[in-house]
Symmetry: C2
Subunit: 494 residues, 2 copies
């Protein structure tokens, strides 16, 4: 139904995107914002047409998808506002000083777009991390044309959303080629897109294998380009003893919900829970087990994801010393994920790479440490993570400074007494983390700071005020916060 | 005299750096700043011991080296101030909103250091881009231990500076391993440093071959790490017709100075000058030729650089249609560079990659276009550049919007009616640019924004105020500008 785009088509699309770039990057921040808001409005109007198609393609419940669409609209609107506000451009101005030897010239720096951005959406978020998702919104805000490769698992939804973006682009009279949509089940399409000479950056959300492949292709180009791949995570949770003793019941209930939310199909799903062996941990495991047994299996996004869940779950629970603590008592139907928790000693966990792998779905393993010292050793075996969570009392935190610091060092978001699932869309959000959670720990894919993935600084030296871009002019007509001679201000320059 | 560090030594040094990281990253911004200022003070005190060694190793004049040392001290002091001020941490806070569904947690984001940074200094700046140079200062400010590989061309200078840094580290009671210094003529040393598991980022200034090699090694690691390589540039200059007609004499004089400054040994040396064939350009070439003939050859940094200059100059001037316009009439002695200008038609230039290469030294080629349209075609053949310069009147600029936009798209710093040599150290400076000028156009190696190369965001979610880092606490005890609920402020949170 959606045949792969061929090489000639991709070449044509990328050439058009490159031409469009020369026009699109020159429109004002207000016009970029208007474009993004038009997409948002049209998505809102088309919700009742979009959601049923997405339900059919992803097996996700309509209510969840309506929520996700609302989030997508909020992303577009809030990044549009951030775009227009202009603070993301990191403007710095140093005015001339003719009395210095040699004379100091006037220098003014702002961010400008990189060029056409190729976006690969996620299977598990057909709206929020796909065609009109965060990467697309950030790239448009930065001033970059966007080429989306539809995710094969929801090409129909992607096509409808792409049509809405194309229509918005026409309504706003943007250059032809500012947005394009291609199809590709085979890796060749991804390869052609990433290695095309006109592609200047890539955004990806999905598996490690996929994201790392794009990263490698991009770095092997004659002209390497930045790739932001968000590749998932096991999101470890550390249960500290004082907190667990006081609250094992509520922690168990909270985590049963987080583990099974959306059939566990979130990159922030808590896949590994680390505690200290003893009475409290036993009580916690028993309470969590009771909750998990009550949880109901549900259909996963597509058969490939369900198969992968069962394979990885099976590999994990057959490792030495791993035992299944509990699984839902309702038998799963075909393509359903079965909520499962397992348990293993820290000693067995630490040196077993299979147990460090993400099992994408409603699965979590509890790692039993002999002591807080052993927990610190466990922390040091973790690769980079999107999130890490501590369940700890104030006393726990005060007494375990080294442990807290070590956990901090492996993650992008550090949660205290909460759950990692639920990624708030706001400027303070960091959805990123050290490799292999992402390919560049210095950027985020959620929140308006994500715009910076697709922009670069340029410094104007010795320009007449009349010739400078609006954002840099003395009068500050865009009313942007700017650092002038090392002081942040919205004032104009006299 | 300085044997290469061996593999065991490097392993030990990197392990120590990793251990030091756990301590160094936890000291306050004020302590980091004190450390950097101590290095600066000690460098100032030791100037009379440092400069003669550098003179001997680099053949650069004492006055130039004293100036460069002063610049190095200024970098350390001004980045120390920026470090302590804390604005570089990009703090964003969104306070909790329990009335939202689901409830919105409190989230607070700041930058934290990446880990041990390996720095490879430049041959042409024994102080400012070397052992205690910009990369080292930025990494210390970010909270990262630094391992410097001494440049083989000035290992003696590097050793003296390294001793000063080590002493400052002891004076400030920093963890052992916060700074280390290694030697390496062979590529194996660089390879061992970049691929060591404890290395978390790399800073490099030098040749394309060297910088690209480090970048490739870093990306081929199991855990890829960011590399900021600044790899030089030809820094094209575009002479627009109205300006040239009015000012060809002063432009020629200005550029004769810029081309020959420091025997042309700057990454911002103007290597390609593009004009429109005609009377004004002839006048300009003739005036520039007269200046270049008067210029005096001088000894280059080391025999390798002098050889490379003569080889690349020879390759360039023997290309089809290239003619030497002028060279200094004084005959060069051994290891000296001879100021030279050549000229070629745009048609011959555009398709000849050898003419696009940097000739590191006092050499520049003038590209003669038939028209402004052909100049636009020439712009499109350029790779990424650290700088691009336009010599243009207001009239020129108004009439050539597309040309100006196209030039902007290839460079990191965009100069109007000036010269690219001279890189001011200030926050608004951007010393970077699209590949192959650097390996990541999104970062700078000059100015306090360079700190961000070595830091990553972390978001604290739902933390008690008492447990948060000082920088994120409600009371804002560090008095940092923070974006709170989308508004920049220095206020505390009630």
């Amino acid at each position: 139904m959606y045949p792969d785009s061929n090489a000639a088509e991709i070449e044509r699309i990328m050439s058009e995107a490159w031409t469009a770039f020369h026009g699109y990057r020159r429109i004002s921040l207000a016009k970029r914002s208007e474009f993004m808001k038009t997409i948002a409005t049209d998505l809102r109007q088309e919700a009742e047409r979009l959601v049923p198609v997405a339900v059919q393609e992803t097996n996700l419940p309509a209510q969840r998808l309506r929520g996700e669409l609302a989030r997508t609209i909020f992303q577009l609107e809030s990044y549009a506002e951030a775009c227009e506000k202009g603070d993301w451009m990191d403007i710095r101005i140093d005015t001339a000083d003719p009395n210095k030897t040699p004379a100091k010239p006037d220098i003014r720096k702002m961010l400008v777009p990189l060029g056409p951005v190729v976006v690969f959406g996620a299977s598990n978020f057909p709206f929020a991390y796909s065609t009109a998702g965060g990467d697309t919104a950030c790239a448009f805000a930065a001033g970059c044309p966007v080429i989306v490769k539809a995710h094969p698992a929801h090409s129909g939804t992607s096509t409808l959303v792409a049509d809405i973006i194309s229509t918005a682009s026409s309504k706003c009279r943007l250059p032809r080629g500012t947005f394009a949509h291609v199809y590709g089940k085979s890796p060749e399409v991804g390869h052609a897109l990433v290695t095309n000479t006109h592609t200047k950056a890539v955004g990806f959300t999905g598996s490690f294998a996929g994201g790392k492949q794009l990263f490698d292709w991009a770095n092997q180009r004659k002209e390497p380009i930045p790739v932001f791949s968000e590749m998932g995570s096991t999101n470890p949770v550390f249960l500290l003893p004082d907190k667990l003793r006081q609250d094992y019941k509520s922690v168990a209930k909270l985590y049963a919900g987080s583990i099974t939310l959306g059939v566990g199909q979130f990159c922030t799903n808590p896949g590994i829970i680390v505690g200290i062996a003893g009475e409290s941990l036993n009580e916690f495991m028993s309470a969590l087990g009771a909750e998990i047994r009550k949880a109901v299996p549900a259909t996963m996004l597509h058969p490939g994801i369900a198969n992968s869940f069962w394979e990885k779950r099976s590999a994990a629970i057959h490792q030495t010393e791993v035992e299944v603590l509990a699984e839902s008592v309702t038998l799963p139907l075909q393509n359903q994920g079965q909520p499962t928790i397992a348990s293993v000693s820290a000693a067995a966990f630490m040196n077993n790479p299979i147990l460090h792998q993400e099992v994408f779905g409603p699965y979590s393993i509890i790692v039993r440490c002999e002591s807080l010292n052993e927990m610190l050793e466990v922390v040091r075996t973790f690769d980079g993570q999107l999130t890490a969570t501590i369940m700890g009392s104030e006393k726990d935190m005060m007494e375990n400074d080294d442990l807290v610091e070590s956990i901090k060092n492996i993650c992008g978001r550090f949660i205290l007494n909460g759950v990692p699932t639920g990624v708030e869309v706001c400027l303070s959000m960091h959805h990123g983390g050290p490799f292999p959670a992402t390919t560049d720990a210095r950027f985020t894919s959620v929140g308006a700071d994500g715009i910076k993935r697709f922009a670069r600084p340029i410094a104007y030296q010795n320009w007449n005020d009349s010739l400078l871009p609006e954002e840099l002019k003395n009068a500050n007509p865009c009313h942007i916060w700017r650092t002038i001679n090392n002081e942040l201000t919205r004032n104009s320059i006299n």
